[in-house]
Structure formats: C-alpha cells, structure tokens
C-alpha cells in the first residue's frame, strides 16, 4: 500500500507515492532523482546521507519519507545559485581541497553548513567533534576541517595549501 507524501524540496513543492517504509533517502534518490544525497552505510553511521529537514541536519537513511511530510528539505542540489554560483561552503571545499573521491562530500557540506548555523566562531577541536557522525573513507579530514573552519571561523584556519 502506498500513500501520497507532499513536501518542499529545495524550495519546490514535490509529491510522490511512497510506502510507509520508504526512507527519505530513497524518496530523494529513487523517486525524485536527487542522487547527490549518498547512501554509504544505511546504518546511521557515515553521514553521507545528511540533508536538512526544517533547517537541521539529519541522516536521511534513518528517517521515513512520510515523516518528512509537510517539511522543508534541503539537499546538496539546493545549495548553488540558479546561475551555478557555489554556496560559500561548497566554494570553501573547492578552495581547501575538502574532497578526494567525493562520496562523503554532500553529507560533509550539509553538516558543515549545519555547524556554521549552530556554532559560528567554533574552533578546530569543536569542528572535529561535530564531524563525529560523518566518515570520509579517503580520510581527507584535514582539508574538510579547514574548509568548514574557513566559513565558521576564518581566523582559525592554518592554510597548508596557499601559505
């Protein structure tokens, strides 16, 4: 049995027929075609699937699509401006080499923005703690931390690449 779920995704109202057990990540990827949200573990560990629901970072592999009914969802596809200008957090990841294979990157960028929203001015130790639920299998954490730090606390960045 399916039911219709209606939610706002990246500013646009979207509807789809889903089963009760359909995960938000599955709705986004398989039904709405937004494959920028990745599923790395499907066990709430890796953070590749992080999106914002009503402005807060959540793991979309551990939320039902029906639970997002009526809510505002933002995915990695919703960040850049219409003319392609990157969001400042995306630009920071480019500038600071915050990605290698790119698999963890959508979740890292979405969590980075969440950290910037919740704790402006955070220091490096705090940023690292806040990334506890986002795993990078290429283990390029240095660039990721620098990128996020450059947005939340520019003064704290010790830039290794452009010194």
């Amino acid at each position: 049995m399916t039911s219709k779920v209606t939610l706002t995704v990246n500013g646009k109202e979207r509807s789809a027929d889903v089963e009760a057990r359909t995960l938000l990540a599955e709705l986004l990827r398989d039904q709405l075609g937004l494959t920028g949200t990745h599923v790395g573990c499907d066990t709430t560990q890796c953070g590749c699937c992080v999106v914002h629901v009503d402005g807060k970072a959540v793991k979309s592999c551990t939320m039902l699509a029906v639970q997002a009914s009526g809510k505002q969802v933002t995915t990695i596809e919703g960040l850049a401006a219409a003319d392609g200008t990157l969001h400042p957090m995306q630009e920071a990841f480019r500038e600071h080499h915050g990605l290698q294979c790119g698999f963890c990157t959508p979740g890292m960028v979405m969590m980075g923005i969440d950290i910037a929203n919740r704790m402006p001015g955070a220091d490096e130790k705090t940023v690292r703690e806040q990334l506890e639920g986002n795993l990078c299998r290429c283990t390029g954490y240095q660039g990721i931390v620098e990128a996020i730090l450059s947005v939340v606390n520019p003064g704290a960045v010790k830039d290794h690449h452009h010194a």
Partner: protein
Amino acid sequence: MHNFDYHAPKLLDTALTMISDREDAKIIAGGMTLLPTLKQRLAAPSDLIDLAGIADLRGVKKDGNEIVIGAMTCHNDVATSDIVKANIPALAKLASIIGDPAVRHRGTIGGSLANSDPAADYPGAVIGLNGTIVTNKRSIKADDYFLGLFETALERDEIITSVRFPIPERAAYQKFRHPASGYAVVGVMVSKTGADVRVGVTGAGPCAFRMSEMEAALAKSFTADAIKDLKGNADDLLSDIHSTNEYRAHLVGVLARRAVAEA
C-alpha cells in the same frame, strides 16, 4: 524492512487508542534506534505510531525545583536549552555528547529511556539525578524504572510523556565514550543536594544502577579522595568486545572520582 501502516496522531489520547487497539503496533519517536532495528528485521510491527505531531510532548520548563523535559524533546534541544544549562549544566553536557549532531537532532529523551540500552547516557542521568519518568498512567521513580537489559517498568500500552529532574546543588557527568559510536563504555552521573548524594552508573551493567557504597562515603565527605579505594563490582558488570567487566569496574571508580572533582 517489512512494511507497516504509519500514523501521525496530533493528540496523545489518539495515540493511546491506536496502541491499545493494535496488538503489534509500536511507538516511533526519533527512530534512531527503532529504524535500524526494523532494517535488520529484528522487529516487524504492524503499525508505527509517530509521536512527533503531539506538540505537548516537546519542550523544557522549570516547575518549582524541578526541570521537566517533554518525552519528544530531542537531545540537541536539551543540550542547548537555557533552562537546562542554567539549572542542571551536567544534563546539558550529557545530551551534547550523545552520538553525533544528526542523531541529536532526531533522537529523544523518551525514546532513549523507553529503549534503556545498557550503554545509553540518559539512564545514568535519571538514576544519578533521582529523576522521575512520567507516563500517561503514573509517575515512576528512577529506582523503580530500570529492571534489566533493555527492560523497564513500562507496560506495552504506556507512553512516556515527560521526565522530571530535581535541581541538584552540584552535579557532573563523566563518560568513557566508545570512540566509534559515542555510546558510554561507562558513564557516571554524580549529584549532591543537601545531605543526599547519588551516584548513577550507566554502560557498565545490564541497566543503569546506583553505587550505594560510594554514595555513603561521599555523604560523609564529598571529595574524590573519599572514594579513592572504591570501584564497581566486576561480577555484576558486562564483558563484551569493547571492554572486560574488570576494566568496566575500574572505569566506574575513575569516572566517579572525576565527576566528584568536576561537580
């Protein structure tokens, strides 16, 4: 994950009727424990009844000398609540180190206590701060609530509505965090209010418990030194791939001393 019917009632009474009428129905709160369990097919409820739409179950308030936290309040809202930070900073700290930020945006205090994972943090706080679990039927004192491994005094059709914590004079929480999951290998909440001292331990045994011997020693002298020769009783504690029971017994002593020093 097997399929189920999903319901999102707006009123507690509707949720209660649904759970009584449907034998294999289950409550879903943050889903941080339940959805992974369903994915592994360790449970296959016929219906999920989501409490997220019941506004009365969310929020923090001060009521006399108690802090009252709605069952559906997420960990992040407890960690950042001005009321909690001002009155029981140890509880705000405990909530701020549960899992990771995305887990803290969904996971709830009610879900954590209903689940009573032996390694969860909130059970240590309920025992160590002498909290009360309030349900649709009754109020359950901390000492009567935790019965065993994943076992509590809750009945099948009983819903936690809020948790009440008396404001202590001093309190502190220390945990030895599992580096991957964040769960407590051992966690100790110590509190002092007048002559009353409580030491609540989580992570170490099948469920959260008090350390009476430490409480008696601390009631005489609330110093880390007063408990320097005390530790957990290894025979009662868990052994698993993360730690032996002997090591957990040792950690109970170390963390209790650190908590007393911090309180």
